[in-house]
Every structure is written in structure tokens, then in C-alpha cells.
Symmetry: D4
Amino acid sequence: MNRNEIEKLLTGIRDGSKSVEEVLDVLHDFPFTDLGFAKIDNHREIRTGFPEIVYCAGKTTEQVIGIFRLMAEKKNNVIGTRAGREMFEAVSGVFSRAVYYPEARIISIPLHEMKKPDTAIAVITAGTSDIPVAEEAAVTAELLGNDVVRIYDAGVAGIHRLVDKLPEIRKCRVIIVIAGMEGALASVVGGLVSKPVIAVPTSVGYGASFGGISALLAMLTSCSSGVTVVNIDNGFGAGFSASMINQMK
Amino acid sequence: MNRNEIEKLLTGIRDGSKSVEEVLDVLHDFPFTDLGFAKIDNHREIRTGFPEIVYCAGKTTEQVIGIFRLMAEKKNNVIGTRAGREMFEAVSGVFSRAVYYPEARIISIPLHEMKKPDTAIAVITAGTSDIPVAEEAAVTAELLGNDVVRIYDAGVAGIHRLVDKLPEIRKCRVIIVIAGMEGALASVVGGLVSKPVIAVPTSVGYGASFGGISALLAMLTSCSSGVTVVNIDNGFGAGFSASMINQMK
Amino acid sequence: MNRNEIEKLLTGIRDGSKSVEEVLDVLHDFPFTDLGFAKIDNHREIRTGFPEIVYCAGKTTEQVIGIFRLMAEKKNNVIGTRAGREMFEAVSGVFSRAVYYPEARIISIPLHEMKKPDTAIAVITAGTSDIPVAEEAAVTAELLGNDVVRIYDAGVAGIHRLVDKLPEIRKCRVIIVIAGMEGALASVVGGLVSKPVIAVPTSVGYGASFGGISALLAMLTSCSSGVTVVNIDNGFGAGFSASMINQMK
Amino acid sequence: MNRNEIEKLLTGIRDGSKSVEEVLDVLHDFPFTDLGFAKIDNHREIRTGFPEIVYCAGKTTEQVIGIFRLMAEKKNNVIGTRAGREMFEAVSGVFSRAVYYPEARIISIPLHEMKKPDTAIAVITAGTSDIPVAEEAAVTAELLGNDVVRIYDAGVAGIHRLVDKLPEIRKCRVIIVIAGMEGALASVVGGLVSKPVIAVPTSVGYGASFGGISALLAMLTSCSSGVTVVNIDNGFGAGFSASMINQMK
Amino acid sequence: MNRNEIEKLLTGIRDGSKSVEEVLDVLHDFPFTDLGFAKIDNHREIRTGFPEIVYCAGKTTEQVIGIFRLMAEKKNNVIGTRAGREMFEAVSGVFSRAVYYPEARIISIPLHEMKKPDTAIAVITAGTSDIPVAEEAAVTAELLGNDVVRIYDAGVAGIHRLVDKLPEIRKCRVIIVIAGMEGALASVVGGLVSKPVIAVPTSVGYGASFGGISALLAMLTSCSSGVTVVNIDNGFGAGFSASMINQMK
Amino acid sequence: MNRNEIEKLLTGIRDGSKSVEEVLDVLHDFPFTDLGFAKIDNHREIRTGFPEIVYCAGKTTEQVIGIFRLMAEKKNNVIGTRAGREMFEAVSGVFSRAVYYPEARIISIPLHEMKKPDTAIAVITAGTSDIPVAEEAAVTAELLGNDVVRIYDAGVAGIHRLVDKLPEIRKCRVIIVIAGMEGALASVVGGLVSKPVIAVPTSVGYGASFGGISALLAMLTSCSSGVTVVNIDNGFGAGFSASMINQMK
Amino acid sequence: MNRNEIEKLLTGIRDGSKSVEEVLDVLHDFPFTDLGFAKIDNHREIRTGFPEIVYCAGKTTEQVIGIFRLMAEKKNNVIGTRAGREMFEAVSGVFSRAVYYPEARIISIPLHEMKKPDTAIAVITAGTSDIPVAEEAAVTAELLGNDVVRIYDAGVAGIHRLVDKLPEIRKCRVIIVIAGMEGALASVVGGLVSKPVIAVPTSVGYGASFGGISALLAMLTSCSSGVTVVNIDNGFGAGFSASMINQMK
Amino acid sequence: MNRNEIEKLLTGIRDGSKSVEEVLDVLHDFPFTDLGFAKIDNHREIRTGFPEIVYCAGKTTEQVIGIFRLMAEKKNNVIGTRAGREMFEAVSGVFSRAVYYPEARIISIPLHEMKKPDTAIAVITAGTSDIPVAEEAAVTAELLGNDVVRIYDAGVAGIHRLVDKLPEIRKCRVIIVIAGMEGALASVVGGLVSKPVIAVPTSVGYGASFGGISALLAMLTSCSSGVTVVNIDNGFGAGFSASMINQMK
């Protein structure tokens, strides 16, 4: 509700077409998220057509379906992350258009096409075990309306595999680097390419990998500029941030 | 050295204007950083006019001045981070144009003007003690050619201070959030604004702040989407990444 | 045994109704918990009518039933926390009045009504996955004789949901804030409301949540005054402390 | 601004005493903190007479004096915590009524008397080295208008010292327990007294004390109910929370 | 082989009853463990009648039975710790005298009586969940030939339970204190009793207990003198050390 | 106050030499530490002649001198640990008999001779840098009335140095092993000698020693039986516990 | 592609046997790994006959078989580590020569004999539970063409077992020491033998072993020179590095 | 003392030139380190001419000079590590041939020339701040008789600097990689070169470098084979191990 709309309401009082009580109730009840005055809004609502996202882990099937139903009513695309196959099966019983990405563990309910920017997002992994996290990032980015270039298993132990792909990587606007173990790939990519790098440590590894802590610390202390980091295994977060940057005008 | 240049060399052999030996030596000796074929280059070199950046901590005054001299010869602007006042004084004895930003602990040797994008970067801190890190981020971003909107001391303990500034923040293209202690500000900003947020944990605090670890963990686990994180107190890294995003075309 | 009772004993010696030996034995043997002199007592015993509480995890069904039996004999209400459904089924075979709260994982054996104070306790969660811990807190508080206002899924990623509920929250006397991930909600609530806030970090989250450590650290380092913290997932402890404060006279 | 006030404004439009523009501007400009509609306010402002508190560590003398000046103008008592003697000396040059509590490292500028509740707060320490943190808690509580009972050096290695003081402790409404090393005192007090216990771990100790972590963990995992915890060395936080509880009606 | 035996060998050379070669071979080949000269021996062998102890976890049933067989041949009592019931069943198929202590998870093969010292070892636990570790300590101590006084569930949340037992505890020569959570019991016992206290942290607890780390740290930093600590859940180690001290002459 | 004394009081009532009121007051007021009945006493008091010990770190000179004065009045030997030379100089101005052990950082005020047991305590260090902690242990043990055998710089990198000393070590009744870095010496000694071993990790080392944590963990997880552990650098604690064991009858 | 080959190409242009385009394409397309000029190669390819190694954990059966097929085509021996029996069964369905080492969890496809150096590698474990990691190291070393001397269960708690084997150990060229718990064996072996020692911490142990961290820290801080360390449980890494050293000329 | 020498002694008895007592005493007293029979020796002694090494940190000047004196008497070269300039000045007052390497913080007393192997050791650092640790490694290796190739400031942020040096690196027999921050250089070098890599994490960095832990973890979890790791900042250890490998025959 912008100044104009409120002005209209107030004018309604003046010209008698609206009672004070009526206006008072509108002002009191209008959803907080529309309250331009209050300087707070629920930013997601204002970009119609943009998908709604639900983190499914730790929610019951009933809760997830309930939330999906609310969202689908707004005619927005819906994305559910961290969803197991059973969750998908329950969801697809209700939403026949639901699609499942098993490696990414994402459920999508596409309700309309999305306009894509010209530039793409690169998703690079160090090893094959990092692929599930990479798929979460890549599918998220795709469902948010981006082209994705996947370059998997290009870790620094065989750095020529990465170097071979540099021209392709350099054409992308944002780069997501996904690595477990020592996470060195983020620094190497950051040193080779002048694009924002979003690093995702994965919990892949054993022993002193400590469930992703080693990769996380390595990425945070990267000596290459332009590298920022998200939580361990947070493919979704990387995909979302990369999409935000890729879709900038 | 691109395909065209190599083609010219090879043609030179064919038409006899160049000997095989000559060409062999050129191929062998050309600097690695120009080797288009080899798929590796030193990306920083290709963006002439972009400042060169030196991390001064742990380097001697002699080392820093030596590096600055090399850089200044290329006619690029030079930025030295984590530099104490003594470092600056030694540097300014050699480079009369050197400027010092004491809170940011940055030395700059501006050699030519930079073209600025239309959009700005917001730098928000939770408290006044976070200002030195914020200044490192802000001055870095400015020296890299960006306008910066500073909003300091807007922590969640008095959230109205942040809310008051939301319209101003929303006009920026990228947002840097800087906070120590529990680092909650990153999540709150991320929840209120649909822009990429780069979160910088600071070592401000005591006890269970553990020199910034609490803020770091909080930022990494932020439940707001669009938040990425850099190292504790890494104002420079945040400023650099934000600049990269802000200057995207 | 208070001064009066001991005085009676001593008078018994003086008037010959009691031998020195007899009194000596009584003084020596009376149960420690009644020893007013010794300045130590078992405080729980003195507040008749107040429920007895049993932490069931790590105890066998036999142990739990045995303890319940002892307690029920004192005619006090009994609360068993961290109890699985099988535990409840065994217990309800013995105590037909036993009630089970599955989300809170609490068994209650209500033996008499409790008098409630006029003021209520607010239980706020950041997400839906925090609800089991919240229910442990809420049910504990209710069984200890308090009214509880539940506000679930009001995390800082969508802060308007919290703001909508502020008037309701401010009417409560104590506030329990329950959050996993980055735990920012405690700081935000602490900054908005002038009431004691008891923060409960939950083990909800993944990666750098480290089973609740991130939320715990964030809550401990909260820059909002008036926030105190209990152990990770310790809904019971929060409910108990909140009840203690809410029932103050 | 409550519904009544807004109603009055709207009525003003209807009866022509106010123009639409006028009302629009009021609605737009009234300070956020008064915005009843928006459900957010700055709660500290509403309790006139209550002291304003400044965390001085990490602020320059100029910053602190500037903040004090602003606060003193509101005629409120001012408390500055974590302030060294030099800070005090600079402050007392400007505010002649400034008082310094060297052990507590607190500066106070008392501008008017505070009304005290009938009940007191107990501040108990395990050792003599915990006294500075205890004084921060005690002085904070006193400056916020509470009576404080100090019981120092009553650690569990000589538990009779604590037991001797139990009657005195039990008369208090809230208990602050301050201990470094293994922090066992919080559990022991919590087991002996039916009052809310706020535990403050201190960084006192060496080796496996790890700067207060051992005491912190012990207090968080206390098997005594009714114990909540604040940050390591956070005497102020304990004093503030205890005051909040002690002054409840 | 002691000096006397070697002397005898050398004398043999002198009187011609032994050749130099013969003696050389004996010196070279005698088992290391008997080499008095070499100043290293296998001390366990020299105390005939003392039980042999096998840590069964991580060993296969075949390995355990094999080791037991070797030991039983020496006619010593055998103790197997960390043994599940299946392990026992396999063992008892071979050794009909094998006895199983299910709570302690210990297998014993008693081959002869042990002489007991006059003094006893106290084993005290904070809670009922600590009993398995306590039983490992107690059964170990008993099988090594000590009387054990068990005092279970005497934690500091209800300190009168401990105080009631002090006379009994003070009669023992060594005290084992077993506690999870905040481990405060070790400090309290150490403060009340002038006997060596061996503290065993247990992994009992949740959240910030961190699998026994909190109790471990608390015990290591105990402000009571005379407390030493063994590994988390190491009931065996405590029982063994206590036995060593209790059997001193 | 023992049963006899109370009996005398009660008899006094019977024979009229004492009024009930008088006896009541005595029972109420006698110091807790003498309360035999109450089952709690301050055990240190009962062993007259045994030194009193003061941990000086974190105490002011005034506090330390005050405590020493109280103790000296009881005619007991006094030991002050963690005392710098300045502390000693202040103390020796008041107590002319005060002695300083600079490496051990211990002040002693010997007021009478102590009876020594026949057996000794071995104090073994891995390196020369561990000597200050060793001296704290050794001097503590000596001042508590024990003979001490010092074996320094016998770490496992040159294990023959240890083996050379085994006969001497085996004659001792208790062994204190002091080591930083990887702390392997405790396991090796524990494997070679059938005596109680008290292991003291030291903060000696760099990098992954983490201020003694590596040695601490190694000692706690020692695979040699009979090893118990005290806090990092806690020479005093080891000396005290060893003395307790060595003086057992 | 070496200088000679490129020279030949260039000469081809000169003498007309090759067109410029042809040469340009060759230069552009030759595999990166052969690009002598570019100073980067894929070193593993150049040592024909040396086994290819695949880390199987986290890969699907299909992925592993696919990779094996590629490798087998090059006629190299293949080693698959961290492979369960099911993986082996799938693999052996395709490769009839596949061999499984169950304790080492290694699959081998031997395609030709390997030439062995004269010297051997010693693999020593502290306990029997360390054997699986030891077998991974030993089998790796054997499959890479080395003789291995296995010495298992020679931990420092019974150091004579190690000393007995010293002559055998000293004949080896490299020594792998494998230990969990406190990891002291690495230091002891390093102190006794003048050969490179590669230490492998194992996750064997409980409590303060923290899944191998204690052993890892102990090995890193070993006071014996010549000890280097690999990741927890990384038998393969130790075997590979030892092989590299053992096969040096 | 070898078999021959003992044989001579025994023969002396037989032919009467030695008494039994005499031989007994020799056998008993000969230094452990020479006892070939006893299977333990002090290996360093046997390689005459090899330098003796003293870790100077935590030793007093007197201790260091005393140890140096003992060593110099054996006519061996002496190396003192972690020695400050003051230490050197004191030492050079006594040993006029003493040489100081200030960056390496090493004192050397060269008493005779060392024979060098044909192969060299490469020492590579990521940044200029890693140079002191690198110099400790390089000087150690040189003083132990090796040629060293220094390649400094070749971190992965500008990977071409490393690639330029690959031919030079590949000629070396062992490679030491020294890096702080994220330590990625070890993995990259390990992936490019088929030689044993000894990785040294340095404490260079800030924030989430945690004094070298991030680099340490990254190196331990390196996905490149052939990488082993030493303690943080342990240049000496790396130089020593590299020397051991380089001097293998």
C-alpha cells in the first residue's frame, strides 16, 4: 500500500465515501508486508512470478503440502528443497505437475515459464561425491530462471581438468565452486577467473575433514579475492545467491 | 598471445620472414600470463586501470615499497591493506601522492580517476566497534570505483535504527553487513532486503564471541537467503566482492 | 526439624521425660533434609503440591515407574520429560491417569489442580522444526501451572511475522525464544521487548550449525540485554525457569 | 501513536479541521518508535527514569562522552560499563557528578534517585578472583535500583562457606552465581535454593579452563533446574536480567 | 635374569663348565621381558596371580577367545572389558567358568581367589544414567580384589543425598566419582573428603554436554585438590587406578 | 563438636547446670565446620600440622598477606602457589621465615618440621622446558612432607634416558609424569612401571600443541592402565594428589 | 609434446608439408597433459605401468565400474580403495581378474607384474583394532610394488613387543606407524629408528580420542624428528607416500 | 657394544685376564645406548658426523650453551633452532665459529664439511609472510647437507607463478610446501609433481585461519596423494624429514 492508496483512503473520508471506522480498520488490518509507511515489507511478495521456496527438512509431509497449497494459490512456481522421495510422492499425489530432482533432492511445481538472463552460472565440483550438493545448487539456479554450466570432478589433484574448462567458465557471470576435503578448488578458481565466486564446502571426506569444517575454513581464508562462502552443503544458498547476482540489471 | 598472433608467427615461417628457431623461442619464452593457448592467464593484468592490491601485514616496509614501485610503474592505482601508520609514513616518503585512511588502515596511491557505476554499495554495521572493519570494506569499495552508503550502529538490539534506513539500503545494489557478537544483523538485513548480502563477522566482543567465531557461525547458518560470508574482520574481501558485483554489466 | 521441635526435645531432658541418650540419637539420626540447624534442606519437599519432575532419558522403564510410584505417594503431580511413547505406554499401564504429550515427549500424572498466576509465558520459535523443543517448554510451563502463548515460525528471515505478534508478546511476563541455525531471534526479541527472555538454542540445522552450537553462541553473545540462555534443546529448563519467574510474588 | 490518536486524525479530515496532506505527512513522519500501528517501538524510551547503559569497550573517549551527553539531556541516569580509569577521568572532566567503581569498571552519572523493590539480589562468587565480574553484576544491579547481598569466595571446594550463608541467600528474590574453573557452584546453589539462578562463567583459571569455556559448559549442562546462563565474564548482563526479574510486579 | 644368574653364567666360563659361545647365545636370546640388565621388563608378568585384562571392543570374537586362551594357560584370572553379550556367549562356550556382568559389560574368568585389602573403594555417581560406567569401575575393582561401596544417584542437584553418605564415603581409601552433564560432583566430593578422588566424566547428557567434554573439562579444572581424571566413560581405568592405590602397602 | 561434647551439653540440661535456651543457642551457632552431627566438616582443619595452601594467582598482595596471616596464626605451615617474585618480596617483608622457590613459583612459610613417609615420589619430565611445572609438583610434594626423586629431560624421543632410570623410578610409590607436545611419556612410563602415574600435560610446545591440549588428550586416552590426569600445567595438583597417595597408611 | 616435436611441426610449415591452419589446430588441440610448453602435465600418465587409483567411497557402483573400464583400457593395474564387498561383487562381475582385500577394503585388478625395489616398508600398529587401517596401508604399498613387513599390536603400553622387533624394523627403508588413542607409538618409533616415519592416526578409541583427533595431535606434535603425518584413518595415503619414498633411486 | 666386544670380555674371563666381578660391572654399567644386545640404541650416536640438533625455545642461555658444549666435544656439527638473536650473541661469545641465520632463527656451529647428495630439496611458499618458516626448513636442510631450491610467493591466487617454476621443482627429489591461510598450495603441488611432498602449515593469516589450523586441516585432507604433513610452523621438522629422504641410498 503506497502513499497514493492511503491518500485515496483519506480523500474518501473527506468526501464522505468512506467512514472513519472503515479507514481505521483498513489501516489496522492491511497486511504488514504491504505497509509502505512502516518501512518494512515482505520483499518476496513484490516480485510476482518469482518462485516460493520451502526448506522441507524437519517438516512433516502435512506441513509441506499445506505450505505448497498456500503458495500455489498465488500462482507462483514452488520449490521445495531437502525433500526425500517419499515427500515427493506425497506431494505429487496432490500436485500432479510436481517434478522431482532426485540428486538435488528438490521438488518443483512449475506453474509458468521464467524469463532467463543471457548470462549463465558455472557450477564446478572438485569430485564426484560433491555432485549432490552441486545439483542442489544447479537445479535451484535453473528453477530460479538461470542457465547453468556444470563442470564436475575438476579438483586440484588433477588441475589440468579445470584448466581445460577455463574458457567455458570465464563466459559465466557467477561461479559456484563446490568442494569437500581441503576445499582448495575455490582458491584456485578465484585466482584464475575475475568473476564473483561463491564457495560451498561439502561434508564429503573423512577424518580431519570434520564433516566439512576443513573445507569451510579453507574457503573462508582463501587468499584469492572475490570468494564468498555459504554454509556446509548449502547448495541451495549458493544457487540462490548466484541467481540474485546473475539476474542483476 | 591469441590465435591471431600465433597465426602471424606461423605465417612468418611460411613466408620466410621468420626462422623456425626464432618462432620456437618466442613460443617457449612468452610469458605464461599471455598464453591464450595454455588456457591460463593472470586475469588481473588484462583489466588495465584496475587497482593493484597489496596485503601489507607480515611484510617488511622494504617489501611493501618494492611491490608498490613495481605496480606504480604499470600506471595502475595501488591499494595497500592492513597497513599501520608507520608503514604509510615510509611509503609516503617515496610516493608523494600516497593517501592514508587510518580507520581502514589502507594506503592508496591514486594515479588516475576511476569510472563509477550508477549503483552504490551499502555498508552497515551492528555497533560502533565494528567501524574499523567497515571502513576497510568501504574504503576498498570506494578505491575500486564505487559509491558507498555508510549506515553504522544499526544492530538488532535497537532494530528501529535499521528499519529507519531501509529505503536508503534498498536503493543499493549490494549490501555489506558487518557485525561481531552474535552477528544477527546479517539475517535481519537478508530477511528485509532482496539484494546480495555479503556478511563480515568481526572479532568484536568478549567471552563466547571467541574472536568472531560466534558471528561467523551465525552468518554461515543464516536462515535468510542471499547471504554469503567472508573471513572474520575481512573488510577488504567484502569490499572487493561487492565491487565485483556492483560493477557487473 | 525446626528450633521449636529441638527445644521440645531439650525440655524433655530437663523435665526427665526424655533421656540424654534418646535425644542424642534423635539429633544424630533425623533425616538430613529436615535438619533446619544444618542449614541444608531439600527445598523441593517444602513446596507441597508442586509437581515432581523426572528426566526419563537414560533410565529404564522399571526405574521410571519406580520413581513415579514414590512421587505419586506424596500426592504430588508428576512430570516425566524426554519420554518416548513406549515409556508412556508402560507408565499408563500402571497409572491410569497418565497423559502423554507426544511432541513435547512429556508424561504427566496430574493428581490435583494447580493455581495459575494472572500473567502468561510466551513461547516463540524461529521455525517449524523448533516446535518439539518449544512444546517441551510450553507443556512444562503449563504443567507447572502457567498460561502459555505459543507463537511459532516467526524467525528473522521474515521479521514481519514477529512484529505482527508484538502486542501479544508484550502482555506476557516472561518470554522463551527457541531457535536453531543462527539463533538471531533471541537478540531481535530481546531488543523489542522489555521482559526477561530465556533463549533456547536448538540442534535444528545442518553444516555449520554444529548441532546447536552456532545458535548457542549467538544467544550467549546477544547484544540485547535481558537475555539468558539454557542448554541446547533444553525446552524443559526454559519452561521451568520461566515458570519460576512468572510465579514470583 | 495508538488507535485513538489516529482516529482523531481521521476525524479531523472528516470534519475538515485537517487536510489530507497534513494527515498524510503525520502518518509518514511520526517517529518509528512511536508507531503503534507498526507494532515496533524502542522500548527503552518509554520507561522514563530508567538508566541508559553504554558499553564503553571498543569506543573512543570522544564517542563515549558524546553518547553520555545525549543521554544526560534526557535527564536519565547513565551507566557506562567496561570503562577503564582513563575513560572515567575524561568523563568526569565533563560530568562532575560522574562516579567510578574501579573493580566493576563502571562509570555512573546519577541524576535522580531510584525507587527500590523490597527484595534483594544475591551475588555469590566461587573465588576471590571472580570478584571483578561480581562487582560488575552487583554495581549494575544497584545502579538499576536494587539491593544486593554480596557473598564472595564460597566455592564448592569448601562448601560449608556456602551452607553458612544459605538463610541469607534464600531471602533474596534472584541469585547471581559467578564462578570460573569448573563452575560447579551454579549447580550446587541451584540444587539448594528455589529461586531463579543466573550463572556467570568467568575467564578465571588456567589450562583446561580455556578462558571460561569449562565453566560455561558446566553451567549450561547444570543438572539443577532454574539455572540460566549469560556470556563469560558478563557481569553486566547478569545484573541487568536479575534486576528485570527482581523489579517484576 | 638377575645379576646372580648372570654371575653364575660367567663363573661357568671361568671354571670351564660353559663355553664362551654358549654364554653369548644365552645373553643374546633370553627373552626381553626377563632381561634385568636391560632395565626393561614386562611388569605385569612378575605379579603372578594378578588378573590379565583385555579390552574387547574392536576385537573379533576369535581374537578375544585366542587371547583369553593364552592368558588362562598362565592360570591367571582373566578380565575382558567392553564386551557385549554375544561376545560373552561365544566366550562361555569355551570357558565354562566365564561370568558376565551385563551393566559393566565385563567378562570374568575367575581361576583362583584374590586376597582383599582391609580398605574399600567408594564408587559414587551423580545420576542413574551414570550407572553403567560406575559398574564398569566397580566390577573392575572387585575383580582386581577390592571391596567396593556403591553410592548411586547422589548428584549436586540434591546435595543432601551425598551428605547423608559422607561417613560411609570417608571410611573408604580411594573414591571414584562418576558424573556426566556438568560433572560438579567431583569438586564437591573433593571438597568434602580428604581422600584421593578419581573422577570419571561420562558421556551422559545432551546439547552442550558434548558427549562428556563438559564434565571432563569441569573435572580437570576442579578447584578441589586431590582430584585426578580419566578418560570419558573410562570406568575400567578408574577402577584399575583405584585398585592400585587401595592395594598399596 | 563431637557426640561427647553434645552429650555433655545435654547432660548439663538434665542436671540443671545449663538452661535449654543456652544449649539451643550453642547448637545453633557452633561453627559449621565443627558440626560432626551435620555430617559436613571442613576436613582440612582436622589434620593439624598439615600445610595450608593458597593459590596466589589473581589475588592482590594484600589479599595474600591477609590470608597468610590467618593461617600462620593456626601454627600451620603455609604454601602459596603461582606466586611471582614481587609477591614473595611483599610476603617476606611480613613473614621473615618465608622461603621462595623461583622455578616452582611457590612461597613457603615453614613453621614446624613434617614427618616423612619412607617412600618417595618420582617426578619425571619429557623435556627441559617442562621443568617449571615439574618443580611446582616437586616442591609441593616436598613441602607436604615427601621425598622426591627428580628425573628431568627423559622424553620418548630418546627413550634410553628413561630406561636408564627405571630402577630408580620403580622404587618410588607414586610417579608424576610431566610432558608437553604429544605427551607420550605418560603412556610409556605407565607401560613400564606398576605404580600409580599422575600425568600433567604442560603448555610447552607450539602449533598443534594448542597450549597443552594435545598432551592432555594423549594422556587422557593413554592405553596404559594406571594413568590419571590433572589440568594443564597443574604441577601443584599432581604434587598434592601424589602426596595424598604416598602418605596413605 | 616436446621442443623437437614442435620444431618438426614448424619445419613442416617452412617446407610446405604442413599448412599454417593445420599446425595452428594441432597446437590448439593437443592434449593439455602433453603440453610441454605450457609447463603443466598430468604426471600420472607418464609413468606407464604404474597403477591407477580410485577412491570408491561416495561413488556409485556404476561410476566405479565406468572409471575402472577407462583405466583398464590403458593396460594399467587398477586399485580401488574404500570399497565395500558389494562394490567388489559388482566389479568382479565385469572384471574377472578383480581381487578383494576385505580388511583393507581394497579392490585390485592386476594386469601385469610390478618390479619391486630391494628395500621394504614396515607397517606397525599399536593395537589390534588398528589393523584395518594398517591393511589399507600395507595392501596399497604391496599393490604399488613394495615388500611390506607387518608388525601389529606393538603399542607403548607393552613396549617390549616393539623393542623385540627393532632389528627387523631397522632393515626397512620407510616406516608407517598406525595408532589410535594417544598415538604415542609414532614418537617412540621415531625416537628409536633413523628412518622416515609416516604416522597414521586412527579413529580407534572412545571418549577423549574424539575420533582420532587426540592421536592426530599427538603425532603432529611428536618430539621425535623425522615423523610426518597423514589424515586420520588414511592408510592409503601412508602406503602411497611410503611407496614413493621406497621406490626412489 | 657389539657381540665381538662382549665376546672379548667373556674370553677374558676364560683366560683369567678378567675377573667375573669386573665383567659383571661392565655389563651392568655400559651405557644403554651401546647395548646392541638389549636391542635398544640411541641411533643418533651411531652416525658420527651428523649434526646434533637443539630446540632452543624454552631453554635458558645457560642450558643451551651447556648442551652445545657437550655436543661440540663430540666434534659434531651443532644446530640450534628457534633461537633469538640474544641467544646467538651469548652463544657466539663462547663458540667463535657460531653462525646465525636470522630469518630462520637458527644457530649453527659448523665443525666439518658435509658430503652432499646429488639431488636437491625444493622449498616453496605460498606468500612472503611464510618465508621465516621456509627459511627454517631450508637452512635446516642445508646444514644437514642438502642443496635447496627456494621458490617463494607462489601461492594459488596467482597460480602461473607456480607453473613457471614446475620444471625446476620437478628436478628436486623432495618438495616442502609451506603455506598459511587455506594451505591450498600443498594440494596443487601434490597434483602437479610426482615427488614426496612435505606440507608445513603456517600460522600466517587472521580470523578463520585460527593460527594455522585451517591450513593444517586443508593439508591433512589434501586430495592429492603423496602429501604428508608436519606441525604448524615446523620448518625444522620438514627440513629434517626431507633431508632424511633426500639422503636415502
